[in-house]
């Protein structure tokens, strides 16, 4: 061992057998796995400006295992893997592959070493076909031209062999997220990957798609491939991993066979303290309907992006919208926020038809809009904290008079918001704040004025755990004050934790709606994939115009305007 700096202040003493000491027991990746690690990363350091993303991390992966790299957002998982894949150059450390020191300066080097990576943000060109995406860089040729037929055959062959079903001629843009992921895996396999890195692959999948992915992972393992699986979800780790390495603050906090640990233990290693798994919420005190959508339809090119959507959110409740991304959530957000006028139907806020009211006018009486934490749309990074806090209210009293900004009022507001919502990092350009603080700032800006209708879209995506807790607490506070919250999220855990009621959106239609307690995660997954939870065949069996709700049952709070007959 040539490690020199692994003893520098470890946050937690690693459990027995987890230290990067000599000859740890190989994981459960088959009893016949040789004890020599296939990939070894030793004392990896990487700094981005002031941020120490990797601070002496160690990783040992044994051949033929599924190795889980577990850690919170920002723990340095992706950085470590991007170093292994040659996308980042490390500042210090050593990589060994099959016992030999490897120099990986580019993805090309990594591929030659047998490493393939499926990135969190897919490295696919939307405008290309599956085959084009897969073969780019290693095209089969005939007389100087690309031999497309051969390319398709190649893709078809690999997809059959590994059970990764996908049409080689389809355009990537038309594929579901799960299918796109398969294309990414195919890309790596065709390039001869023996070691496959999957970076947060389940973040974008429905539970069923995730199960399918786990099946594929096991099949790949059976074919002798080694898999490094990055995640922050304990459940998945326990479900699929042979061995787990936990990363915290850029270092490995422990490494052990999955069979020898518990979720609670892993959680503690991840966070470095005992964790509270959920924010307790008192039962809903429902008031009148504050936000109503009546038969809202938005037409797109050739198909409806939203089809006859009826929803209502009452004061004091959180309605969660579940669905695989790209099923109309964006349009729903746009319609409610006032950027887009529905082609049919109405949006009512506090009973009033808001047609013709732009986002600016909707905000004034008490509507708030929390944009996604990532891609970060809310804050303007080039502007100061003060400017960001007043953003959206900078046109009128008390922050401006006759079109001229009033500095003292703005400064006061900034003081109030940053202290109440615990926004840290100074008053300079917001781009210099951490992602979590930026999002807290936006949440603070939106919630400070005590709105009574709140539209929250992926509010905690890409945000660190501390900020997530805070944002969840603020949303529940608003609910307790009697605000109506429409929560659009792709994160089922978040929806289940916060929502009083859930509605599932699929291809622009609400296919189910009901009290949260009536749904199981599995049911939600099926509904999100356009299937009936009963296991029925047709995905459109739910029918249109609200009949889909019957399947999930609902309380008496359905839209009373259903009889209006438009």
């Amino acid at each position: 061992m040539t490690v020199s700096h692994n003893d520098a202040g470890r946050p937690l003493p690693p459990p027995a057998g987890a230290a990067p000491g000599p000859a740890p027991t190989p994981g459960g990746g088959g009893a016949d796995a040789p004890p020599a690690p296939a990939i070894e990363m030793i004392g990896i350091y990487k700094r981005f400006g002031p941020v120490q993303a990797s601070a002496g991390a160690h990783l040992r992966v044994y051949p033929g295992e599924i190795h889980c790299l577990l850690g919170e957002n920002g723990a340095g998982k992706s950085t470590l893997m991007k170093i292994l894949y040659g996308l980042y150059a490390m500042d210090a450390g050593e990589i060994r592959i099959r016992g030999r020191t490897a120099v990986i300066r580019s993805p090309g080097d990594a591929m030659r070493a047998g490493i393939g990576m499926v990135h969190q943000h897919f490295m696919l060109v939307d405008d290309f076909t599956v085959a084009e995406n897969v073969i780019a860089g290693m095209e089969p040729r005939r007389r100087g031209l690309i031999d497309m037929a051969a390319a398709r055959r190649l893709v078809a062959e690999y997809s059959r062999r590994f059970g990764l079903h996908v049409d080689p001629g389809a355009r990537v843009e038309d594929l579901s997220v799960g299918q796109q992921q398969r294309v990414e895996i195919l890309k790596a396999l065709i390039r001869g990957a023996e070691f496959l890195i999957l970076d947060e692959p389940t973040a974008v999948l429905t539970p069923q798609e995730a199960d399918e992915l786990f099946r594929v992972m096991r099949q790949l393992k059976a074919e002798g491939k080694t898999i490094i699986f990055i995640t922050h979800k304990l459940k998945e780790t326990m479900a699929v991993a042979d061995r787990v390495t936990v990363l915290r603050a850029g270092r490995d906090a422990g490494s052990m066979p999955a069979s020898q640990t518990t979720p609670q233990r892993l959680a503690e290693l991840m966070v470095g303290r005992r964790v509270l798994l959920q924010v307790p919420a008192p039962p809903a005190q429902r008031g009148p309907a504050l936000l109503q959508l009546e038969n809202v339809t938005v037409k797109g090119a050739g198909k409806d992006l939203l089809r006859s959507v009826n929803l209502q959110v009452r004061g004091g409740e959180i309605l969660g919208i579940a669905g695989v991304e790209g099923n109309g959530q964006l349009e729903l957000e746009e319609v409610v926020a006032g950027w887009r006028t529905p082609d049919q139907g109405r949006v009512r806020i506090a009973g009033r038809d808001v047609a013709g009211m732009g986002p600016r006018r909707r905000r004034r009486p008490g509507c708030a809009h929390i944009p996604p934490g990532r891609p970060r749309r809310g804050p303007a990074p080039a502007l100061s904290v003060e400017q960001n806090v007043v953003l959206g209210r900078h046109w009128g009293q008390p922050y401006a008079r006759l079109g001229v900004l009033r500095r003292p009022a703005v400064r006061e507001l900034a003081d109030a918001v940053t202290s109440r919502f615990d926004v840290r990092g100074g008053r300079g350009p917001v781009g210099g704040l951490s992602g979590g603080n930026q999002q807290k700032l936006v949440v603070g800006r939106e919630l400070y004025h005590n709105p009574w209708v709140i539209l929250a879209c992926q509010p905690t995506r890409g945000v660190d755990v501390g900020a997530i807790e805070r944002i969840h607490r603020e949303l529940l506070d608003m609910r307790a004050r009697g605000a109506a919250v429409l929560l659009i999220s792709a994160d089922l855990d978040e929806l289940l934790a916060l929502s009083d009621r859930l509605a599932v959106i699929y291809e622009g239609e609400i296919v189910a709606e009901g009290e949260t307690g009536q749904f199981t995660e599995e049911m939600l997954g099926l509904l999100m994939a356009g299937q009936r939870p009963s296991g029925g065949s047709g995905r459109n069996a739910a029918g249109r115009n609200g009949t889909g709700r019957d399947g999930a049952g609902r309380d008496g709070a359905g839209p009373t305007e259903a009889t209006a007959g438009d």
Binding site: P50, G74, G76, T79, A382, L383, G426, G431, D464
Partner: protein
């Protein structure tokens, strides 16, 4: 593009301005050096050439006045381009807008000749601003409605403006004689001299006041806030409910109006009439002015003087050293290139990631750091704005 300063020794804004000043000085020096190399290659006496350049620009009170006179249209047009820059728009059409403004001013001054001096001048300038504003509004509206990129439309509109004003003069307003020009404007419509014996007029004062006004507009008003927001973060602007399309139109209109005033002051203070094809490319030099000023209104003032000096000095160089003044156009191009390339002059201390302020490092993850850098580097992202503005 911005290097954020982590230290607390200087207010961040000051340090930034100082850094940019140094960068700009280096860029100008490098461009002049390249110009010197060209002169030497062409067999000229570099010392003689640059002596004349300096002498013509700053050698005497008269040359300083000359520099300032040359700087005037650049001040207005540069301010126009800078304002549009702040709104995330490339107004390469200041040339066309100043033609529109100039003709409108000349025609108004002639039409209202019996008015007393001050209201006449005011009306003539207003007409120039309106005409320029309309000429700027067209590409703004095209961008907002169809997404047509303003770089192409403004450049095309420059050609159209030059041809159209020439046609209008020929057809309707031509003074007798071989030149396509209008009659002289009445004497009381001329901008009074600021310093007797020079061609320096009240245009200087108007220009400085306008700089202050634009600065105030951008910093202190709700409208200016919108403009800067759309320019720097169109995505956030959409989320905040800023009507991005409408702001695009207005930003271009205001920019065009300011450029139109460049034409007005040329007519009222220098030419005393409209002459077809009078501009030697003020509108293009204005782009260089705005860039060197980093799109800051107060920066436009020294930047305009710099380029005014290059022009005044260039002419002296042509007269006394017999070196064609067009070399200065090439130098302008080089200044633009050098100022615009942060990587070139910052090469020795370029970091892949913008440094956040002290105290955030603990919580800031690598991912967010990289993302922050990406967002700062992205600049005007009109694609996003258009997409998100929706129909």
């Amino acid at each position: 593009m911005t290097e954020r300063t982590a230290g607390r020794r200087l207010p961040a804004a000051w340090a930034e301005v100082l850094g940019e000043l140094a960068l700009t000085a280096a860029a100008v020096a490098l461009a002049l050096l390249a110009g010197a190399a060209l002169l030497a290659l062409a067999g000229y006496d570099v010392r003689d050439a640059y002596y004349n350049l300096w002498d013509g620009a700053f050698g005497s009170v008269y040359s300083v006045a000359d520099t300032l006179v040359n700087a005037m249209p650049l001040l207005f047009a540069g301010l126009a381009v800078a304002f549009a820059f702040r709104g995330g728009l490339f107004n390469i059409g200041a040339e066309g807008q100043l033609y529109a403004g100039a003709l409108a001013t000349a025609v108004t001054a002639a039409a209202l000749a019996e008015w007393p001096s001050v209201p006449l001048i005011a009306a003539a300038m207003l007409a120039g601003a309106l005409a320029g504003g309309l000429w700027g509004l067209v590409p703004g509206a095209l961008k907002a409605k169809t997404g047509a990129h303003e770089v192409i439309t403004t450049i095309m509109l420059n050609y159209v403006a030059i041809l159209l004003t020439t046609h209008l003069v020929k057809q309707y307003f031509k003074a007798p004689g071989p030149v396509d020009q209008t009659a002289l404007i009445p004497a009381h419509a001329r901008l009074p001299e600021l310093i007797a014996g020079t061609r320096l007029t009240w245009a200087v004062v108007i220009g400085v006041v306008l700089v202050a006004a634009v600065d105030w507009l951008l910093r202190r008003t709700s409208f200016g806030f919108d403009v800067v927001l759309v320019g720097s973060n169109p995505g956030a602007a959409v989320y905040a409910g800023v009507p991005v399309a409408a702001r695009t139109v207005w930003t271009m209109a205001v920019s065009g109006a300011v450029a139109g005033l460049a034409g007005s002051t040329m007519v009222l203070g220098v030419l005393y009439r409209f002459i077809a094809n009078f501009s030697p490319g003020y509108g293009f030099t204005a782009v260089a002015v705005a860039l060197v000023a980093r799109a800051r209104p107060w920066g436009v003032l020294p930047a305009a003087v710099l380029f005014g000096a290059l022009q005044a000095g260039g002419l002296t160089m042509q007269l006394f050293a017999r070196i064609p003044a067009d070399l200065m156009t090439a130098v302008q191009g080089l200044v633009i290139l050098f100022v615009a390339a942060p990587g070139l002059l910052y090469a020795w201390r370029r970091l892949p990631v913008a440094a956040p302020r002290a105290g955030t490092a603990m919580t800031m993850t690598a991912e967010t750091a990289a993302e922050g850098a990406a967002e700062t580097a992205a600049g005007p992202d009109n694609e996003t704005a258009r997409r998100e503005a929706g129909p």
